[in-house]
């Protein structure tokens, strides 16, 4: 028990130092929020596999390692050319290195039509930004239920702050890039806690690409939280591309809240990290809202990635369509848990969930768990999941058309990814992600 308490004590001590130094300039409401969050983290502790939500994913490698809080890198920032490969185009971008804003790599925060896309830390320093942040920040993330979200909230300092005012359109996708140097500090490997807030107001339209990537192969931990708010009749697409380093740990939470008649598509591409856990908590909080959750995980080696999604139908006449595909090679382990809650009164809910897993080796493993909790009677909910190797009938069909077994396997594997990529609306983003998928699958 002492040992377990020590694991959290280390972060509580780090918090005391953080509260004294780095974060003292924050407004009082934020300091209070952080204090509450570190207390909650200490209460919860790191989860164990005895907990239902963590049955298949042991975070012991994170809990047992001694991570120290990343400091703003003073030198050795990457060159702008180093990040080109991580971006889709020449549109606006906000870049962070080890969790801190890197203005030299970013475009100016103020975009056309009053759209703001910059750092949360600098937004908190202005009255308008602070007011907007206070209205939304930590209101959507259920940090009280999650040790990792609580820890992120305790160390909440910087991340992307995106504000698309009512009835405006963000012309090209905004790119938010979180880079990790992978450089250990003097006290060992580092952790960063990027915290992002994306507010797309009533009638606005926007697409945001959130990329997590490494600048080296070092050991580090990235513990990210993103909150997305989609206003009445607004339309938003969020792409989350996880290409963390091969020896890294990534824990991320995406929380979304949608108002009446809004549309949100959350696209997820998980390629990196030794151990990754991504929680999506999506709340359909106004009648007529529509949600697309569209994810793909491609894992190899000894990679482990766990996607936990909760879709909360809190209001009637909403639709959610969820598609997660996994391709697992070598000794990789993919976990998918999809929970759909239909609250009392959320009549005419239309919810569909599928999770298909392709196992490319006998040692690869996938665990798929749908969970439906339905408290309304006039709803349409379907779910299905598959886990298995390449389909022999499909393989034969392709061979009967002249394709070699290798080419046929490669096409069928790529099909698992292409099915997800095809739902991405923005052609430039889709093409970049398609290249990533093809590179990962090797010549498909």
């Amino acid at each position: 028990m002492t040992e377990v308490a020590d694991r959290t004590a280390r972060y509580v001590a780090a918090f005391e130092a953080f509260a004294r130094n780095g974060a003292s300039g924050a407004p009082e409401w934020l300091r209070e929020l952080r204090r509450g969050a570190i207390a909650r983290f200490a209460e919860l502790g790191f989860p164990t596999t005895k907990q239902e939500e963590w049955r298949f994913t042991s975070v012991a490698p994170i809990a047992e390692a001694e991570f120290t809080l990343a400091h703003a890198p003073r030198s050795q920032l990457p060159a702008p050319s180093d990040i080109e490969r991580l971006c889709v185009g020449a549109g606006p971008r906000v870049v962070f290195v080890d969790g801190r804003h890197a203005p030299s790599l970013s475009t100016p925060a103020d975009l056309a039509a009053g759209v703001r896309a910059g750092s949360l830390a600098s937004a908190l320093r202005t009255d308008a930004g602070s007011g907007l942040a206070r209205a939304h920040l930590a209101r959507h993330a259920r940090w009280r239920d999650s040790a990792f979200a609580a820890l992120n909230t305790a160390f909440l300092a910087d991340g992307a702050f995106v504000h698309v005012p009512a009835n405006t359109t963000l012309a090209s996708p905004l790119e938010v890039v979180f880079l990790s140097t992978g450089r250990a500090g003097s006290d060992g490997p580092i952790v960063s806690h990027p915290r992002s807030l994306i507010v797309v107001e009533r009638g606005a339209r926007a697409a945001v690409v959130e990329t997590y990537a490494a600048l080296s192969d070092g050991v580090y931990w990235s513990n990210a939280v993103t909150e997305v708010v989609v206003g009445e009749g607004a339309s938003a697409e969020l792409y989350r591309v996880q290409q963390e380093g091969p020896d890294s740990f990534q824990v991320g939470t995406t929380h979304s809240r949608q108002e009446r008649d809004s549309y949100l598509a959350l696209h997820v591409l998980t390629l990196g990290a030794a151990l990754a856990r991504h929680d999506i908590n999506a709340v359909l909080d106004g009648p007529g809202a529509e949600l697309i959750l569209n994810g793909l995980y491609l894992l190899g080696g000894a990679q482990h990635a766990d996607h936990h999604t909760v879709i909360d139908h809190a209001q009637p006449h909403c639709a959610s369509h969820e598609f997660f595909n996994g391709v697992l090679a070598e000794r990789a382990h993919g976990v998918f848990n999809g929970r759909i809650i239909v609250r009392p009164g959320a009549q005419r809910t239309d919810s569909k969930q599928t999770n298909n897993n392709l196992l490319l080796s006998t040692e690869a493993r996938a665990d798929s768990q749908p969970q439906l909790e339905i408290y309304a009677d006039d709803v349409k909910c379907t779910h299905g999941s598959t886990v298995g190797p390449i389909d022999q009938t499909q393989l034969y069909y392709l061979r009967s058309r002249g394709l070699s077994p290798e080419a046929a396997r490669s096409i069928l594997t790529y099909g698992f990814g292409a099915e997800i990529l095809d739902r991405m609306r923005h052609p430039g983003v889709r093409d970049r992600l398609d290249r990533l998928v093809r590179a990962r699958l090797g010549g498909a």
Partner: protein, 256 residues
């Protein structure tokens, strides 16, 4: 060009999961010919078609198949396809995520490469495809849809015929392509197959029904029963089967 044997099946025995389905099939198909293979359900028609295409689940236990004088059974399914054998599946397979266009181009290029021809790029391929699409009465929207995914039964069959037209095989085997088609679709399929008839290729129509033979006139009609060909004749045999059914053949087979 003079006629010569394209396909020679000799005393073919084949089984699946230890159960013998083909019990000694003999069949010769010459270039320029259309053969119809008819027979009751469970007689082995589809098995014969699948064994010729190389389905890995069937084991050939005896007999020989020569294609252009070469041992067809020694060839992998993809080699048979590249050498010009095409099977239109009775139950075409859906493939998620892969568009029809990509699938067709991959197949065409695999075959072209085998024949030493240059592979086609996406644009050249689309140009070549346009005409074939017209023949089966499709617009290009079918090309951007995933292979057979969400297609109706009739659309899947048309898609097989599109592949037939695009791949232009020497030996086309159509496994009950006519089943489940409405009359318009049937006419389209028949018209396409008829158009592809040349003195140097051949077609084997595996069918349960006489109907399609009113649109594609066969040179030879065979009756397959109990895993072997029990009767062969001209197109009038098909009409006789339509009128009398298959039972009289079984009796005849027992008597002789």
């Amino acid at each position: 060009m003079s006629q010569h044997p394209l396909l020679q099946v000799k005393n073919l025995h084949a089984s699946i999961e230890g159960r013998e389905i083909l019990t000694g099939v003999d069949l010769t198909v010459n270039t320029g010919e259309v053969h119809a293979i008819m027979g009751p359900n469970g007689s082995g028609k589809s098995t014969l078609a699948q064994v010729l295409a190389g389905h890995p689940a069937y084991a050939v236990t005896a007999g020989q198949v020569l294609y252009e004088g070469n041992d067809l059974l020694a060839m992998a399914p993809e080699v048979r396809a590249r050498e010009g054998v095409f099977l239109a599946f009775q139950y075409p397979v859906a493939i998620r995520g892969i568009t029809n266009a990509y699938f067709l181009r991959s197949a065409v290029n695999a075959i072209r490469k085998h024949r030493g021809a240059e592979e086609l790029g996406p644009v050249e391929f689309m140009d070549a495809l346009e005409e074939k699409l017209k023949v089966i009465g499709w617009d290009s929207s079918y090309l951007t849809r995933p292979v057979n995914e969400g297609f109706s039964g009739g659309e899947k069959k048309r898609n097989e015929i599109l592949q037939l037209a695009v791949l232009d095989p020497k030996l086309a085997i159509l496994d009950e392509t006519d089943s489940g088609l409405d009359i318009d679709a049937l006419k389209t399929v028949a018209k396409t197959v008829d158009k592809l008839r040349r003195p140097d290729n051949a077609t084997v129509l595996v069918t349960h029904y006489y109907r399609i033979l009113t649109h594609i006139e066969p040179d030879v009609v065979h009756v397959l029963a109990g895993g072997k060909i029990v009767k062969s004749g001209g197109k009038e045999l098909a009409l006789e089967l339509e009128e009398k059914g298959y039972d009289w053949l079984r009796e005849e087979a027992v008597v002789t």
